[in-house]
Amino acid sequence: MSSRPRPCALLRRLLPLLALLLATPAWALDGNALLKQLDRNLEPESYEMYRKLINIEPDGKKKEYVLYTVKKGRDKMVALFLDPPSDKGRATLRLGDNMWLYIPNVGKPLRITSLQSVVGGVFNNADILALDYSVEYNVDKAEEAGNSYVLALKARTAAVAYDRLKMWVDKASVLPVTIEAYAASGLLIKTLHFRDIKDFGGGIKRPAVMETDSPLYKGYKSVMLYSSLRARRFPDEVFTLNYLPRAGELR
C-alpha cells in the first residue's frame, strides 16, 4: 500500500500555506520590489530620450537647456546638450559613480562630481545623470498611506548624491508623485514633484514633467520636461570617454 497522499488531500494541506502567501503583501510590503517596478514604469532599462531643463528665477526669468540622453543597463548614461548654443556640444558621461564632462573648447573630458551642477540652478549633475532609484538606493521602510505608498530610501553607497530620499508613490500607477532628497546631516536639499502622466508609446506611461524646488534656493524652481522616450539598445563603447566628443552622432 502506498502512503502517498492523494492530490485532493495534498491540495487541502497546501491551501492554508497558499492563502498565507497570497495574504503576505497586505501586511509586508516589499519596498525594494516596488522600487524596481517604479523604475521600469518610469523608463526602460536602456533608452534614449530628449529632455528640456528650465531654471525659473523668482522674477519669472527662465533659462532653458535641451539634452539628448541615452542610457544602458544599470549604470551607463550619456547626456548631450543640444541647446542653447553656449552649451551645445557639451556632453556628460556617467559610468557607475564616475562622471565626466566634455567641453568642446577644452577638447577632453574632465571628471566632475555628482553634487556639482553643469547647468546651474537647482538641478545638479546627479539629477541630470540619474540612474534607476533601485540601483542607488535601498528601501529602509515602506508603508501605505491612503492612495500612496511612502518609501524611506537610504543610499547604497556614500558616492550617491543624496543620502536619503522620502518617496510618495501612487498606488494605482506605481509612479512617483513627490520625492524629498536629504543630505546625510538630515538637511532637506530639494523636493521633486512629478506630474502630467503621458503615454510615450511602447508601453511607457509616466510623468512628463518634474518640478524641483529647494530650500537652498528660495523662490527658484527647476523643471524637467521629458519627450520622445523610447527603448533603444546601444553598444557599450558608446559609454566611453573616447566616444563622448561624438555623442551627437547617436541621434
Partner: protein, 429 residues
C-alpha cells in the same frame, strides 16, 4: 481689506502654479546634415607696465616708452559640421581684429579642418587638422606631446590643432577593467605642414592607450623621435569621493634644448633629458566652493638661477643701451630668448590654485573666482580675481584683474605687466 486681498492671493497663487504649463517641441532639435555654430566676442584689456621689468625692457626698448597699454579686440569663431553617411567633416575657423596704442592687428586661423569616418562604434579614423588634448592637468599638461601649450591664465581657450592622420579604437568589458582605447596617429612635418611642431621631413608617430581600470582613468602615451626627441608619459585621474578628484601626469623627454644666458651675456643652448610631472586635485565643498590645486614640475624649464641671470643680463644690456645707444646686445637677447622667457610660465616649479564659488548668495549663474599662479622657486606670483556671469542666454560676461608680484630678478617680478584688466563679452549663436 488687506487681509482679504492676501487671502484671495494665497488661494489664487497655488491654482496659478498648478496650471503652469510648459512646451517642448523636439522637432526643433532634430539632427541636421549641416550645422553652423560659433561665437562673437568683444574684449577690452588694459595693461599697466612695469618699466623696470626685464621683459618690458626687452620688448619695448626700441619703442616709445609708455606706462600702459589699452587694447580692444573683436573676434569671431565659426564652427561648421557636415555629415554624410559614416563621414563627418568638421571645421573651426577663428578671426580677430585688435586695435591698440601701437596700431591695428588682424589674425585669422584655421583651428581645425578634418574628416572623421566612423564605420562602427569601436573605430574612428581621422584625417586633417585637429586639436588634440592629452593629459589630465587643468593648467599644464606635461604629457601634451601632440598639442600646443595651454595658457594657464586661460586653460579653456580653444587652441589651434596640427594636421594628423589617426584612428581611435575602443573596446568595453565587464569587470574591473571596463575600457581600453588605442589612439595611434601621425603628425607629419614638412616645410609647409605642421612647421611649428618641430623640424621638417618627419612622420612623427604618436600613440595613446587609455584604460578605465578600477574606477581610474589611466593613459599611457608616447611620441616617437623625429621633429622632436622621443618622449613618453602616463597620466591618471580618479574620484576619491563625491566631492574630491585627484589627477596626475608624468612625462619623460629624451632630449630638450633650451637657450640659456650666461653671466657674460652669451646665449648658449643646453640640451638634456627632462622628467616633468604634475599632481592635482579638485574639491567641491558643501557650500559649492570648488578648489582646484595643481603642482607642476617642469624639468625643461628655467631654474631660479637661470631666470635671475637672464633678468640681470637684460637689465645690464638695457643700461648699456641707455648709456651708449648700443642696441645689439638687447636685440640679440630678444631674438634668442624672448620666445622662451615670455611664455606664461618659463620656470621649473609652479603652484596653481583656483577657488570658484558657484552662485553665491543664491545669485544664479554668477561665479566669482580667484586664481593664483606662483613660482615656487622664487615665490613670485600672479593673483587674478574674476567674475563670470552667464545669466543671459548665450551671453557670457567675464571680468578679470591680474596682479603680478615678485622681487627684482624673480619670474613674475620681471614680467612686462604689473597689472592687467580684462573684460570680455562673448555671444554664442
Amino acid at each position: 481689506m488687506r487681509r482679504l486681498f492676501c487671502a484671495c492671493l494665497s488661494l489664487w497663487l497655488p491654482a496659478a502654479a498648478a496650471q503652469e504649463s510648459y512646451s517642448f517641441d523636439v522637432s526643433q532639435f532634430e539632427k541636421k546634415p549641416f550645422e553652423l555654430n560659433g561665437y562673437a566676442e568683444l574684449k577690452a584689456e588694459q595693461f599697466t607696465f612695469d618699466r623696470h621689468a626685464a621683459l618690458y625692457q626687452l620688448g619695448f626698448f626700441d619703442q616709445p616708452q609708455r606706462d600702459g597699454f589699452d587694447r580692444g579686440t573683436g573676434s569671431l569663431q565659426l564652427e561648421g559640421t557636415y555629415r554624410q553617411g559614416l563621414a563627418t567633416a568638421h571645421v573651426i575657423a577663428y578671426g580677430s581684429y585688435a586695435h591698440d596704442d601701437t596700431g591695428n592687428d588682424r589674425d585669422t586661423r584655421l583651428y581645425e579642418a578634418s574628416v572623421s569616418v566612423q564605420p562602427s562604434s569601436h573605430a574612428t579614423y581621422d584625417l586633417g587638422k585637429k586639436t588634440l588634448s592629452w593629459g589630465k592637468g587643468y593648467a599644464w599638461n606635461p604629457v601634451g606631446f601632440v598639442q600646443r601649450a595651454k595658457d594657464p591664465n586661460d586653460p579653456e581657450l580653444a587652441r589651434e590643432g596640427f594636421v594628423i592622420a589617426g584612428g581611435d579604437f575602443v573596446r568595453s568589458f565587464d569587470g574591473t577593467l571596463k575600457t581600453v582605447a588605442l589612439t595611434p596617429l601621425l603628425v607629419p612635418t614638412t616645410a609647409g605642414l605642421n612647421a611649428d611642431f618641430g623640424t621638417s621631413e618627419h612622420l612623427n608617430p604618436a600613440a595613446k592607450i587609455y584604460f578605465f581600470y578600477a574606477n581610474t582613468d589611466i593613459d599611457l602615451m608616447m611620441l616617437g623621435a623625429g621633429a622632436k626627441s622621443a618622449r613618453y608619459g602616463v597620466d591618471f585621474s580618479r574620484n576619491l569621493g563625491t566631492n574630491l578628484e585627484v589627477h596626475g601626469e608624468w612625462a619623460r623627454a629624451a632630449s630638450v634644448t633650451r637657450p640659456v644666458v650666461d653671466a657674460a651675456g652669451n646665449v648658449v643652448p643646453i640640451e638634456a633629458s627632462a622628467t616633468s610631472y604634475l599632481l592635482g586635485l579638485r574639491y567641491l565643498s558643501e557650500s559649492q566652493l570648488t578648489t582646484l590645486f595643481e603642482y607642476y614640475y617642469n624639468d625643461a624649464g628655467y631654474s631660479e638661477d637661470e631666470m635671475r641671470s637672464f633678468a640681470a643680463v637684460v637689465h645690464g644690456a638695457y643700461d648699456q643701451y641707455q648709456a651708449s645707444g648700443n642696441a645689439a646686445p638687447l636685440t640679440k637677447l630678444r631674438t634668442a630668448l624672448q620666445p622662451a622667457m615670455a611664455r606664461p610660465n618659463p620656470g621649473q616649479r609652479y603652484l596653481y590654485l583656483r577657488l570658484s564659488q558657484q552662485e553665491p548668495f543664491d545669485i544664479l549663474y554668477l561665479t566669482p573666482a580667484l586664481t593664483i599662479i606662483a613660482n615656487v622657486d622664487d615665490r613670485s606670483y600672479s593673483v587674478a580675481p574674476e567674475l563670470l556671469y552667464t545669466g543671459i542666454t548665450n551671453l557670457e560676461l567675464r571680468f578679470r584683474v591680474f596682479w603680478l608680484r615678485g622681487t627684482p630678478l624673480s619670474d613674475f617680478g620681471e614680467k612686462q605687466n604689473d597689472r592687467r584688466l580684462d573684460l570680455r563679452a562673448r555671444y554664442y549663436f
